[in-house]
């Protein structure tokens, strides 16, 4: 049941991102729902349990992207692994404002990291395919700023929905990722 719910979450996030968001947001400002889900999963159930789902979500995004197959999956796994090292986030969950701020900061860095992965992927593809014009990234534009803001809001929303549904549908909360103490 838990796996089925996670499957539905992943597929819905990707389908929304590929097919629906474009009707509501202009190009360049589309929030990254898949990344929002990745962050939620890693913070909620930990990297080890969510790794398979990060790869699955990444490969679905790759199928609908112009990137080399596997790039998004690699970016998500890297981001998930990096987030899992920030164990302090799991520990401050009870301090709501501090947790929200940490979640926002994690999302901003994750979004930039993911876009750098994509940028590198496009450059690599362009280099090997000898394309005349490569992809240009503009991290200092209004579009990019809004995209990050929308993604941060998406993280808050998905995190909230995920926590609520995991309690209701599974009859038991999904175990939170906690810092291992040695």
């Amino acid at each position: 049941m838990k796996n089925f719910i996670l499957f539905i979450f992943c597929v819905t996030a990707v389908f929304f991102q590929l097919s629906i968001e474009g009707s509501f947001f202009s190009s360049g400002r589309i929030p990254d729902l898949a990344l929002a889900l990745v962050i939620t999963l890693v913070i909620s159930i930990g990297f080890e349990k969510s790794a398979g789902w990060l790869v699955f979500t990444g490969l679905l995004i790759d199928a609908g992207s112009g990137t080399i197959f596997g790039t998004a999956a690699l970016a998500y796994v890297f981001i998930g692994w990096a987030i899992s090292h920030l164990a302090a986030v799991a520990d401050i969950r009870f301090r709501k404002i501090l947790f929200a701020a940490s979640l926002g900061a994690i999302t901003v860095f994750s979004e930039i990291t993911k876009d750098l992965f994509f940028w590198a992927s496009f450059r690599l593809k362009g280099y090997y395919l000898h394309q005349l014009f490569g992809m240009r990234m503009n991290f200092f534009s209004l579009d990019y700023f809004l995209k990050i803001i929308y993604t941060v809001l998406a993280v808050y929303f998905i995190y909230y929905v995920f926590r609520r549904s995991s309690r209701k549908l599974l009859q038991e909360p999904i175990k939170l990722a906690r810092r291992k103490r040695f």
């Binding site: 590929l18 474009g22 190009s27 690699l74 503009n138 579009d143």
Partner: protein, 267 residues
């Protein structure tokens, strides 16, 4: 915590597997995989797209109620102007037919087109492209131009799968199209920029171009038919080295909300 913890080993093994996948995905080796995933999800994506389109239209309608009256008056005026223009064009068409007959010219063929439904679009907003529900099964090939309405160019087919295809829009920075300004005949190359902008580059300093001029495909190279509308010149600048002129072009079609596009299969 040791470096070879369970988590790190899992991370490294996934990264290793993905790097192998990425390395075999080069040069289109990933096409069958992408095609399979897109083919399997195509019906769902289509349904989601139709639903979202309807919802977006509804919200747009609610937001535009206040402007409807003035817009309606403008449209009535525009319609009257178009009716007069249409009558003039019909007259010219008739004259054109007579002249072609006189000179023994074959009638000008229109394009063969394949209507297709947009099922998905660039999820990252980095490269501008869309995915449509027609592919190899309908004879779609790489390089075919994609248009909307009656000859407004929106992009070109760059990847074809079994029953879907990827169209790179003219706003993508990897897109390069031979174009010309309709009034002056000045030739150049239209490239995309980040977001929704496009630029016409490499325009000779000797050619005169004006703001508001229509930009069309020149047909040079034979990859595209001549005369597809790209947009209108909105600003004229000099290139950095001052050797050429460059112009910002406003796309004629609304590329952010495409639903149905036509692929030119023969021209």
């Amino acid at each position: 915590m040791t470096f070879f913890s369970r988590k790190n080993i899992k991370f490294l093994s996934i990264v290793f597997a993905l790097l192998i996948l990425i390395s075999v995905s080069f040069r289109g080796a990933d096409n069958p995989l992408k095609g399979f995933v897109l083919g399997a999800s195509s019906p769902f994506l289509k349904t989601f797209r139709i639903f979202s389109g309807g919802t977006a239209d509804f919200f747009n309608f609610l937001g535009s109620i206040g402007d409807l009256k003035s817009e309606n008056e403008k449209l009535i005026q525009k319609n009257q102007g178009l009716l007069a223009e249409n009558a003039r064009f019909k007259d010219i068409e008739k004259e054109n037919g007579v002249l072609r007959k006189e000179f023994g010219l074959a009638p000008k063929n229109k394009f063969d087109i394949e209507a297709s439904f947009v099922i998905a679009q660039d999820p990252q907003g980095l490269g501008n492209y869309i995915i449509v529900d027609k592919g190899n099964d309908k004879g779609i090939r790489t390089g075919m131009p994609a248009i909307v309405s009656d000859g407004i160019l929106i992009g070109r087919v760059t990847d074809v799968y079994a029953n879907t295809a990827k169209i790179t829009l003219i706003t993508d920075s990897a897109s390069a199209i031979n174009a010309e300004a309709q009034n002056s005949g000045a030739k150049g190359i239209v490239n995309g920029e980040y977001g929704l902008g496009i630029k016409m580059n490499m325009i000779s300093q000797a050619q005169e171009i004006k703001e508001g001029d229509a930009v069309i495909t020149s047909g040079l190279g034979g990859e595209m038919p001549r005369g597809l509308v790209i947009g209108k010149i909105s600003r004229i600048d000099q290139s950095k080295d001052k050797l050429f002129q460059e112009a910002s072009v406003l796309p004629e079609a609304d590329l952010s909300d495409l639903r149905i596009v036509f692929l030119v299969t023969k021209f």
